[in-house]
């Protein structure tokens, strides 16, 4: 708990405790912990002198924030239009088959979270999957299965 608050404070200090920094602070905290711990939301509200409800509303409004812990690796399947027409739904079907995951769900061992993203702007390489900031291009269901297997093995 102490540690969490220390880290949150460090982020707030970096951006300055101003209302206009709210989103930037929350992005960094969310990235740091892989989600927004309950304590962090309260702390941000205190330091920025705004109601907890405002921080909470921003946290639930934007897609990137999670209020529950997510997997160590987050697999983003792009579902932009170009990826959609080039077979992104098949990648999601394969994940459902192999891991039993729907988008937004995490494996029980917290190894991996499956998420979708509305276009990462790499449309020429569609369909694409982003893992830890690395973009994989022209992914097929088989490539996807191999990629996930690799992640699970590394994580174990």
């Amino acid at each position: 708990m102490e540690n969490i608050l220390q880290d949150v404070d460090a982020v707030i200090d970096q951006w300055g405790a101003k209302p206009e920094s709210l989103l930037q602070i929350m992005l960094d905290v969310n990235h740091h912990f892989n989600y927004l711990p309950r304590e962090s939301i309260v702390r941000i509200a205190e330091r920025l002198r705004m109601p907890v409800s405002q921080v909470y509303s921003v946290a639930t409004f934007f897609k990137v924030f999670s209020l529950t812990p997510r997997g160590r690796t987050i697999v983003h399947v792009c579902t932009g239009t170009a990826c959609h027409v080039k077979g992104a739904p098949k990648l999601l079907d394969r994940m459902k088959q192999d891991l039993g995951l729907d988008p937004g769900e995490t494996t029980e061992d917290l190894a991996l979270t499956l998420e979708t993203v509305n276009c990462v702007g790499a449309c020429a390489s569609a369909p694409v999957v982003v893992v830890n900031g690395e973009t994989y291009s022209e992914v097929t269901p088989n490539k996807m299965a191999a990629l996930v297997k690799e992640i699970k093995e590394q994580s174990a």
Partner: protein
């Protein structure tokens, strides 16, 4: 870096940079745009640098990690200058050969050249490739040849000369007049004349004003703003600085999606470098004009591309739009006069100032001036970013530049304008593409995404896709969008799943018109467009889904069946072993068949069959 204190300082610096680089014999351009990057371009840059150092010639040849070249289908791309020899799909183990044969010597490596799919000929030079030859690259000219992370490179190409011109003798009103004369219209989707917007913002009362750059490029399938901000951030910055001068702003924001980490990074260093040279910050180029620009990241909300939602988000609030009866040029960010333009719009500004508004107005059509960058993606051979003059026929874009549809399939439609736009069908292939013509065709320009669809794309599924997107992305503030779009989605899903009843199409249409008239913001009002345009041109497909319970494109799973051709099946058993549902039965060396009850229509069997014995009915 020393701060530049006058326009003369900038000119002197430019001469110095050019002088300093005279000894460079060849430049090795390695595209580092998003597409090439995802295919390992960074490793190529390292490999080239290492190879040059090992040979002790790193001073004579320069490896240039460039912004997006545009021809993403050929990535990773390497171009050797000055000859402009174009190598495609380059791998790190080919670097040695390129250095030896094409850099140190003047040979051309045949196997790395681009092959024209129509003639089968190998093409040596970049400018000869049809994809480039038919384009008119103005805004996107330097992205793809520049050294992205080097402000000196930008300055040596004449960068910041437009800013110098403005500061050395143009009044803010003159700048606005020039932009008005150019006829530049907002490239983000609305198409509002930029000069008129600037003028209203300049005239608005208030000491503190803001300029903003909308880089929240949320339209799925569009990535030109990403490539511009990533690949040539100084051009965008220069446009913003000129805009701020014209409007009278001292502070600016770039609002960029967090999904574009490289754009964030490149915008930040560009600002840092510009500040060090005194091109940003206090007393720019020794004048009394000062400006600060900040970069703010979005957090994954499509609606934040809408101007009022973007400003709310900048203020640290939930990104909900408000009614537009109060104009943002008068009361925008923190209720102060604010001017928001899109990345591409800002990038046009230096060109207009340098070459004059009249020059700019001579390009394009009567009411749509200049060029437009489109992202040509989907079922097309030459995927990538293309810049053409407004009014270029769709046929030129799809066939001459885009190289047509892969695998000899038929072109069916092109989707433009993202979730606010619509589909333009094959019979309008000769449509000149500009703001007006696209609107007349029931679509819109949007930010410039062009998603090409072939005969294997189901138009009802496309409508379902966009509705699903809009349901997820609706901010929930107004009922027509929050509830109405959800009801539309339910109806269309029903069609795709074979549950639709007669009369559903009419119900869907009625909802479309109601939402168009009553939604709060532009995105809500335009939400029915994907449905209306597909209904307009592909009503027969809707009819087939509703009345015959059939999907003509064979995409909607509940309406199709996988069947094994008894003549072609050899009974090899591969599909039976691969099928995750054990839905395929049959003895060895005998014809197999699929149990329709168990089949989940995943398509693994079709992918694995070597005899093409499985088809969809």
């Amino acid at each position: 870096m020393e701060r530049l204190k006058s326009i003369q300082d900038l000119d002197a610096l430019r001469q110095q940079i050019i002088e300093r680089r005279k000894h460079i014999r060849k430049r090795i351009r390695v595209c580092n745009g998003t597409g090439c990057h995802s295919q390992g371009a960074e490793r190529l840059v390292d490999a080239f640098n290492r190879a040059l150092e090992e040979r002790g010639v790193a001073r004579d040849y320069l490896v240039v990690p460039t912004g997006c070249n545009g021809f993403c289908a050929a990535g990773p791309i390497v171009v050797i200058e000055p000859q402009e020899v174009f190598y495609q799909r380059v791998k790190p183990d080919q670097v040695e050969a390129i250095i030896e044969r094409s850099v140190l010597a003047d040979e051309v490596i045949e196997e790395l050249l681009y092959v024209d799919p129509t003639t089968g000929e190998r093409i040596v030079h970049e400018y000869e490739i049809p994809f480039f030859a038919k384009q008119e690259r103005l805004v996107f000219k330097d992205t793809g040849t520049n050294f992205v992370t080097d402000i000196d490179d930008y300055i040596s190409r004449g960068g910041y000369s437009a800013l110098a011109k403005v500061l050395s003798g143009m009044s803010p009103e003159e700048v606005i007049e020039e932009v008005k004369l150019s006829g530049l219209r907002g490239r983000g989707g609305g198409g509002f004349p930029a000069g008129v917007k600037w003028e209203s913002c300049r005239r608005a009362h208030g000491d503190i004003k803001y300029v903003m750059c909308n880089a929240d490029e949320g339209d799925p399938g569009a990535y030109m703003d990403r490539s511009l901000l990533e690949g040539n951030p100084h051009q965008v910055l220069e446009g913003m600085i000129i805009g701020a001068y014209a409007i009278g702003a001292r502070e600016g924001y770039i609002y960029v999606r967090f999904e574009y980490p490289m754009a964030v990074k490149n915008a930040l260093w560009a600002i840092e470098q510009a500040k060090q040279y005194g091109l940003l910050g206090d007393n720019i180029l020794g004048t009394s004009f000062s400006l600060d620009i900040h970069v703010n990241r979005g957090a994954g909300a499509f609606i934040c591309g809408e101007s009022t939602a973007l400003m709310a988000s900048l203020e640290g609030k939930v990104g909900e739009p408000r009614g537009k009866h109060i104009h943002t040029v008068e009361k925008g960010l923190w209720n102060r006069p604010s001017n928001l333009n899109n990345v591409e719009t800002w990038a046009n500004v230096p060109l207009i100032i340098n070459n004059g508004g009249a020059w700019y107005a001579s390009i394009g059509t009567e009411r749509s001036k200049g060029t437009k960058i489109f992202s040509l993606v989907g079922k097309i051979n030459n995927t990538g970013l293309v810049e053409v003059a407004m009014g270029t026929p769709l046929r030129t874009i799809i066939y001459d530049i885009g190289g047509g549809i892969p695998a000899g399939r038929r072109f069916k439609a092109v989707q433009t304008g993202g979730p606010s736009g619509g589909c333009v069908p094959e019979r309008l292939i000769d449509l000149p593409v500009d703001f007006e013509k696209l609107k007349e065709a029931g679509s819109m320009m949007g930010s410039g995404g062009m998603i090409v669809m072939d005969e294997e794309t189901c138009m009802v599924d496309v409508a379902r896709y966009f509705l699903n997107f809009l349901v997820e992305e609706s901010c929930g503030k107004c009922i027509p969008c929050r509830v109405g779009v959800k009801r539309m989605h339910e109806l269309v899903v029903g069609m795709c799943e074979g549950r639709a009843r007669p009369g559903d199409i009419e119900k869907l249409e009625e909802l479309c018109y109601a939402i168009q008239e009553t939604a709060l913001c532009g995105l809500g009002k335009s939400a029915p467009n994907p449905v209306l345009s597909t209904l307009q041109y592909f009503r027969d497909e809707y009819d087939a889904h509703v009345h015959e319970k059939k999907c003509p494109a064979k995409i909607c799973k509940p309406l199709i069946q996988y069947v094994i051709d008894t003549d072609k099946c050899t009974g090899c058993g591969l599909c039976r072993r691969r099928c995750p549902e054990n839905a395929i039965i049959g003895a060895k060396k005998e014809c197999h068949c699929i149990d329709e009850e168990l089949c989940v229509r995943c398509g693994i069997c079709i992918e694995s069959c070597k005899f093409k014995a499985i088809y969809i009915e």
